[in-house]
Amino acid sequence: MLLREVEYARPASVQEAVRLLSDQEGARALAGGQTLINVMKARAASPDALVDLNGLDELKGIDLGSDGTVTIGAMVTYSEVIGSAEARARPILGEVCAQIADVQVRNRGTVGGNVCSNDPTNHLPPLMVSLGATMHITGPGGERTVPAEEFFLGVYMTAAGPGELLTRISVPPGKRDGFASVAIGKDGTCIVNAAASVNGGARVALGCVDAVPVLLKTDSVEEDAVRAALQGANLDPPSDVHASADYRRHLAEVVAVRAVAQARGKS
């Protein structure tokens, strides 16, 4: 429960946040804190300073563009996604956010925090990859965009490097998406998860089986094709107390098939 000493800053703008993050090597952005604060309680991580992004209106809000693109601010909470009429343009966003943890965590945890922490068991990294989302990053050198499938670099590591901030995520239009997982208890930590988007073929992104989401593309959305893609992927998932590597590999196929079936069932 007891954190190491840490400095705290509450910037008034994204620009100031970026400056604070780049000035101090040991500074970390504090989003919803539903992961970071717990890690700090365990003293598994001890940043020198926290740059609190709560209160930055620039990172809030969900917009629905005229082309159907949904743009979500990095500091939008899961609950805000669930309740947002704009986000409903891509229904899977709210459906997956409603499966994350519990009310309290959904009220505080943020979309940006979920993808930037890139814990391999998180829900949103595979979802963003399957949706083909675009990540908007701001840093001392200005703004840039990175496709979701290139955003996730390793366990707890993303393309948003030191001194940079993920500001928003753009999700292209679409409806035929699915998400399936096997979790520890209802809405608990995922043992394996899969997100799928169907558009002619399928984009299936698997979570919990590697350091970053594993993207598989199939030309056909038939079950056999999905199974074949999984078997051809030579997954080498980790073993832990919840599942052996073999079992996780088996589950990956199961949830991938379910996610694609769910996506196909939508019009």
Partner: protein, 600 residues
Amino acid sequence: MTETTVTPERPLVVEEGETRPGFIGQNIPRKEDKRLVQGEGVFFDDIKRHEMGFVHFVRSPYAHARIKAVDVAKALELDGVYGTLTGDEVAILTDPFFELSTPPGAHIKDYALAVGKVRHVGDPVAAVVARTRDLARDAAELVEVEYEPLPLVLDGEQALADEVVLHDDAGSNTVWSGTFDWGDFEGAMAEADHVVKIERLHFDRFSSTPLECSGCLVEYNRGTGQWTIYGNHQMPGVGAIWMAPALRVGIDKLRFVSQDIGGGFGNKITLHPQFTACCLLARKLNRPVQWTEWRTDQHTANTHGNERTFLDVTVPVKADGTMLGFSVKAIDDCGAFPRYEPLGCIIWAQVTPGCYRWRNVRVDFTQVCTNKSPVAPNRGYSRMQHLWLTERIVDIVASELGLDPVEVRKKNYVKHEEFPYETPNGCIYDSGDYARCLDIALDLIGYDSLEERRRDAESRGKLFGIGIGSTLDSGTNNFGQSMILNPDLQFSGNNEGATVKLDIFGEVVVTLGTVPQGQGHATTTSQVVADILGCTPDDVNVRAGHDTYWNSTARRPTTSSSPRGRRASRAIPRLRFRSWRSARSSTRTTPGYRKTSTSR
């Protein structure tokens, strides 16, 4: 206090020939609730003292290692650190806690902090006290401990080989062993038409995990040499028996106080090592010290429930499915220290044949230590492991012999007309109708349609399992069996005091020695007292929570409900009903006095 809204309906027999309506058995509002739903409970961590220091334990990252050196110098340099305690100091200042077992377990040396060796991950090696909780943890990180890792043993069966021995003083991992042999097992084998053998069954380690972790606030009074311990120890009476001799003082020097406890389930029965460390720190630093266990500590290093391996189970069975008994070799794994646990070696014997008419039972029982955190008597402990065995036996026999798991149970259950029934080891089951209970349970889950539901599940790619468990438990006991474990153990009797007094406004005040953890002792006690005095539960103030000043020992909650009522009722003849009524009526007629004796 919550007003009782229930009118007594059923007559209560007070003495022979005398009846009046009673509150016992009525559903009345709980007296505890009004405080608790307002966040006005008093849990140990809610209590604060001026200038108190916070304790943080330095814990072992190794399951088994020799402690080569402990250096607290850097921790002491940190501003705000009040002091430290190490295993070396503990070894000088205290004696090992007494062991319940006969040898070899009797020779185990168990201290408040690890002395010489650590024997499980999380074993406390040193303690630090500081001005804030955070500082205490900061300082604990600065304590330097040099370990020499040792080979370890994590499995009960392997522990029996003594290739790695945890306790050099005991010379063996075996804590206690004994053979229980009732009836005529050889005769039963000769009589059997089939013998079913089960090579190995394993009951896993578990934890009941109360939502409130353990902890205490300890004050030391230099004048009286007395410690006051505000803590959530579930059995302070037993805790005191461990702690006082270790601290080399009389039991009167330890005053335990608790009001609300956030669940216990047995996990809080063996807190004496941590509490003893806190006592030493409070005396050494001459200031109140407070220890809060965090959940990670609790999961890692606090008590869990016993793990038990059953080997070579042998079941003689007649052609008609009648089981004549069983024999088994049981290996109970109590983790690094037995503490309360040798009692688990015999406590299962309260339910030796489970629900069954098994007359020939032979149990070869051994308890061993392994390099895992110690266990404590979690929820139905020892009986649960044993009753799980009886149910596994029944299902495996049914499966091997092609018998119906329901019919074979009914065939072997003690019959309704056989009660009171004496088990092969002399326990009396007073009443019951197990076959009918099973029928009711099967009816409630729609057992007849289960096959259909199973097929339906299969058609949806799901599996549908059906399991039957029939158990019974000993609701109360006086721990007389502890003498089987160790004839010198003065552990039997469970004395307990209750006082019932009439107070200034005519209210009845009851004090109990029990340590409630959510069971509603205040409410149920008020019902018993109200019935005997002829008042209402609203008129009875029960002091919930324990205080050694007016309570004696305090014991396990599952077994306390019935003796508690009896204790309170025995205290009552001193307080005559009439005197209560006259006192009350006089207060009612006095202007300015409150109308009814509701609580303050």
